[in-house]
Symmetry: C3
Subunit: 192 residues, 3 copies
Amino acid sequence: MFAASADNIVTGSKLLMELLGADAPARAEIAERMRAAEHAGDDATHAIFHQLNSSFITPFDREDIYSLASSLDDIMDFMEEAVDLVVLYNIEELPKGVEQQIEVLARAAELTAEAMPHLRTLDNLTEYWIEVNRLENQADQIHRKLLAHLFNGKYDAIEVLKLKQIVDVLEEAADAFEHVANTVETIAVKES
Amino acid sequence: MFAASADNIVTGSKLLMELLGADAPARAEIAERMRAAEHAGDDATHAIFHQLNSSFITPFDREDIYSLASSLDDIMDFMEEAVDLVVLYNIEELPKGVEQQIEVLARAAELTAEAMPHLRTLDNLTEYWIEVNRLENQADQIHRKLLAHLFNGKYDAIEVLKLKQIVDVLEEAADAFEHVANTVETIAVKES
Amino acid sequence: MFAASADNIVTGSKLLMELLGADAPARAEIAERMRAAEHAGDDATHAIFHQLNSSFITPFDREDIYSLASSLDDIMDFMEEAVDLVVLYNIEELPKGVEQQIEVLARAAELTAEAMPHLRTLDNLTEYWIEVNRLENQADQIHRKLLAHLFNGKYDAIEVLKLKQIVDVLEEAADAFEHVANTVETIAVKES
């Protein structure tokens, strides 16, 4: 079930990528597909919670499963919010750094989707969480550079407000990938 | 104790409603009563935590009780913050959508207050959490329309900043109602 | 280990204090030392989590240890972010209230560092958490006055955006000190 949730996130990150070059009608259609992916993610999360709450025995600690499912759900929500804001605010052109943010998210999504099936055996996961932590640091640096860029005097205040909300929500998505990786590490350490 | 906390939230949502038509002196007086309601809420939360921490046996899982009390406390905090910001920023007129946000919160507050006594028997709760989830979706749509409205060019940037902070905190209150409903669902599923 | 984490926070709060009077080159150097302190904090947190996850028996409830370590880590992160934003946005002069915010944080840091060694015996902690709760209320009032000051018409919108982000992150640090104090209270009540 975690694998389904993570595959869904890969779909979401690809839609973010598509968004970059899209014109207004294409954006509206991408937002539609994003909303569908987010609903699928909600259903996956709800199914995990339902099974968790109605089971006496769980493969890992309850709170770790809960945390993993919640963080995967958060990633999808943040990605959907980013797309929605771009459409809502009718952003003409995104600053160049946003592409770098989305590339990092796409890479983190792939690694996360590859890692989920390994939860069964808990092997070969060390590289995954080290790499996601590295990607989060990279995302953080891109985000701070973007903030400096937004405030360099070229944008008016209204534009800064709109764009800052978008780059902040993409940064929150990167943080949520790190939460997933940290929870996977917690599970692996407990079982070892 | 949860019922007392939820009744307090109903009081808070009625004060939000009163705020809409009030002039400056009336607003200051509403803010005063809101602060009193928030302090009463803090005392209720503290009493729940104290009893929880000093009991060996609890009716539901500890973390669910903790989560329920925290989310009820959050709702009150967000509502108090909204009133405080309106007074602090000396907002002349709130955009029309804010009234809709507050109506949704008032409806969610009523439903939550009605649901709390059912925690004893855990029956008749399904409709409550479905309806609160529906209300949160509605709040989300109102919030996004409000953001688009704030950025449509009629407001200057400083005004956008002030109003955005207020509509965001009301949206956080709506999210917190959903957390309460989700926790109630979790408790009910575990016990069934 | 909690004591090491709290001592690190005292270091951080002193760096915040130094920042106030510093010119641009001195600020860059303070940011460097802050980053080092934050990395040391990360290592301390990671060591606590690792030991927690690989131990069968823990002195207090697992979730309380986890919450304590996370909140201490959050404080450091928020303080580092504040310094980083001052450098990033090249802020010429901080509003006067920021000094008051930092003084409250420095006092809370001292009290927290003094309290941590008492976790062993759990005595003499009541005064600590009452005082930190009082400091958080004070921080809240300073923060709200700062917001009113930022919006009083003297600053342009871009400047408001930059400064608001900084005073908000310092307020988040004050909130995180309160979370630490609340967790210490929870532990003490459970053991009594």
